[in-house]
């Protein structure tokens, strides 16, 4: 009698285990499609890689179908709003930096990220301490990069008239 194959445990949900290979197959398909406009020399490498991804994706799907998969219920969770806020704050920081300048954008983002990362209630002492530390850190990094290493950090288009 044949032994039953053990079911695989997904890293996250069982559905996502199927979704990701499909996504990779779609990406490789897009890359192969895009390579039509390239020269033979330019296309050979990316097309080969895209085909390898495609094959790996199909094999993965086959593996999942054959073995079966169950969701990982014990995976780590956390605050999704904070995660989203962090990404948004950092993106806004990067986009606003050329306009507001490195120092101002940096200080504003530092405070925003500080608020996002704080889980305990703020006390005036803690807030003041963190703000001073933040200002010192921003100034320190600015000094190191702009003055010592001569990195041309953005001054800010708003202040340049």
């Amino acid at each position: 009698m044949m032994k039953a194959r053990p079911r695989m445990q997904a890293t996250c949900s069982a559905r996502s285990e199927f979704l990701l290979p499909l996504l990779f197959i779609a990406v490789s398909g897009l890359c192969i499609w895009q390579a039509r406009d390239m020269s033979q020399l330019g296309a050979i490498f990316p097309v080969t890689i895209a085909v390898v991804i495609l094959i790996a994706g199909v094999l993965r799907l086959g593996q999942l179908v054959m073995h079966g998969v169950h969701s990982n219920v014990g995976r780590e969770r956390g605050s999704t709003p904070r995660r989203v806020l962090l990404v948004l704050a950092m993106t806004a920081w990067a986009l606003i930096m050329p306009w507001a300048g490195f120092l101002l954008a940096g200080l504003a983002s530092f405070v925003t990220l500080m608020l996002i990362a704080q889980h305990e209630p703020w006390t005036p002492r803690r807030l003041l301490g963190h703000l001073i530390a933040g200002a010192v850190l921003v100034a320190g990094f600015y000094g190191l990069f702009a003055l010592l290493l001569n990195v041309p950090l953005p001054v800010g288009k708003w202040w340049m008239g």
Partner: protein, 508 residues
């Protein structure tokens, strides 16, 4: 006898002071993500123009040594390789730090860096002309196979599903093709965007893929970043020495790999550390604990990347071909000082060359006290900084570090995008390491492949161009072994009855 007296010339108070300063500043710069060893050396080159040639070279060598080592701090403590050479240090260094062994990981990294550095310098001192010839026998095809050999490490780096590893590496390889093709000049996958024309900068991608996921998870929970033990155990030197003694073969093998890889121009510390990591894992009896905080993983990668310092100088000094990017900068400094590379560096200018090699040895030895001291404070600061300060500080380092590479805000946006993609993929079981491996090896593989293909087509023998040379065949054999050895090992273990039944987990 003359060589010895030249080498001892490095011990003059001025050279000693410069080596100390160089190592300390190198460690600090290398520890900051985005500031690579190349940048550290390049930025400080003008400082050395007024110095005596040997002192200038000693200082640059010391900065380089310090920066390569410094990259391990952020790799261990915040899962972000400070320099690309420290990529593989994150694999076991960060899990060690997370479970409360960050201090031990830093000590191990210091000991391994010293051991690897010494091996590299000894190779430079004794085998330089001989080893330089090896570098000359590597053509585009050999580089292509070397990159393929590097890609076979995916089977070692992808935990759980190897197919996921292949998809991840493929994704990294595709990312590496974005922009203008090195051979042929095609514009690829830019989707009409000017921003993507320059391609994806490797260090920005590294910062994004490794650091942003850590930040995203840091803010999600109130728990501490790293586990902190009630009892402070200092630098844990005795324990570290114990691990190093146990892994003496691992240290030696990794240092040898580092030295050999470094003499191949363009290969660099990242490949050296990845190859040595894979070899350490393969040789280990406890391969499954690699990636989960095995001290031998840290020893292997740090020994290999610091061995590249001495190894990289072999083709630089003997042939004038820089082994690693920082070597290219130092080569420029050497030319500014009025020296021509080649055999005469070891004859007519032997006094300067051997004093420099002595200085490099000195800088490597200085890593031990300086590294342990700075490492202890780095670890203490990371574990005591509250999360509300740690998160913006790391975010600041990632943004400014990425911006500083090409003075480009677009790179910061790309870094953030890759970070979010990396976090999502990581959540679904796609580790960042294969992606990074693809990103780093992609250009080397493509250039070697296309050039080899053109050479083969011109001579009417494409197949023998790729499969004809003894070096190519050796690397192909090693690649095949690298792919199939883990499977053979698992099969053997199953035969011995070690196979655990039930459902098998595919998670990290």
């Amino acid at each position: 006898m003359e060589i010895l007296s030249y080498t001892l010339g490095a011990l003059s108070p001025v050279n000693l002071g410069l080596a100390l300063l160089g190592v300390a500043s190198g460690i600090i710069i290398g520890a900051l993500p985005g500031l690579s060893a190349t940048m550290a050396v390049a930025v400080l080159v003008p400082v050395t123009f007024g110095m005596a040639p040997e002192s200038a070279l000693i200082m640059l060598g010391a900065i380089y040594t310090g920066a390569i080592y410094g990259g391990s701090y952020s790799a261990i403590l915040v899962n972000t390789p400070g320099t690309p050479s420290a990529i593989a240090t994150t694999f076991d260094g960060f899990p060690m730090a997370k479970r409360g062994d960050g201090d031990l990981a830093v000590t191990l990294s210091t000991l391994a860096s010293v051991a690897g550095g010494v091996v590299g310098v000894l190779a430079l001192l004794t085998l330089a002309p001989l080893l330089a010839q090896v570098a000359l026998s590597f053509g585009p095809v050999e580089y292509f196979w070397l990159a393929i050999f590097g890609l076979t490490l995916i089977s070692a780096l992808s935990e759980g599903s190897t197919l996921k590893g292949f998809m991840g590496a493929g994704f990294g390889l595709l990312l590496s093709t974005i922009g203008v093709a090195v051979v042929g000049g095609d514009t690829r996958y830019t989707f009409g965007s000017q921003v993507l024309l320059g391609g994806i900068e490797t260090v920005s991608a590294l910062i994004g893929l490794y650091c942003i996921p850590v930040l995203i998870d840091l803010v999600a929970t109130p728990e501490a970043h790293l586990k902190v033990d009630e009892e402070q155990r200092g630098i844990r030197l005795r324990e570290g020495l114990g691990h190093a003694w146990l892994g003496k073969l691992n240290l030696l093998r990794s240092a040898t790999i580092g030295t050999v890889v470094a003499i191949l121009p363009g290969a660099g510390g990242s490949i050296a550390s990845l190859v040595s990591y894979s070899e350490a894992r393969r040789a280990s009896r406890d391969a499954s604990s690699f990636g989960k905080g095995n001290p031998q993983g840290v020893l292997a990668t740090e020994s290999a990347n610091n061995a590249t310092v001495g190894g990289g100088f072999i083709p630089t000094l003997v042939l004038g071909i820089p082994g690693t990017p920082p070597d290219a900068v130092i080569l420029g400094a050497l030319l500014v000082q009025g020296f021509r590379t080649g055999p005469e560096l070891f004859t007519t200018n032997a006094s300067i060359t051997y004093t420099f090699i002595g200085g490099l040895f000195l800088a490597t030895c200085l890593l031990l006290p300086l590294g342990l001291l700075i490492g202890r404070y780095a670890f203490k600061s990371i574990i005591t900084i509250p999360k509300a300060l740690l998160v913006p500080t790391i975010a600041f380092m990632t943004v400014i570090g990425t911006y500083a590479i090409r003075n480009s805000v677009s790179d910061v946006v790309i870094m953030l995008t890759l970070g979010v993609v990396g976090w999502l993929l990581n959540r679904y079981g796609f580790r960042p390491s294969p992606i990074v491996l693809g990103l780093i090896l992609g250009p080397i593989a493509e250039q070697g492949f296309v050039q080899g293909f053109l050479m083969g087509r011109a001579s009417g023998a494409v197949v023998s161009t790729f499969f004809g040379g003894p070096i190519s065949l050796t690397i192909i054999a090693l690649s095949v072994l690298s792919v199939f050895y883990p499977m053979i090992k698992v099969r053997r273990a199953r035969r011995r009855g070690h196979d655990g039944g039930g459902s098998h987990q595919e998670v990290s």
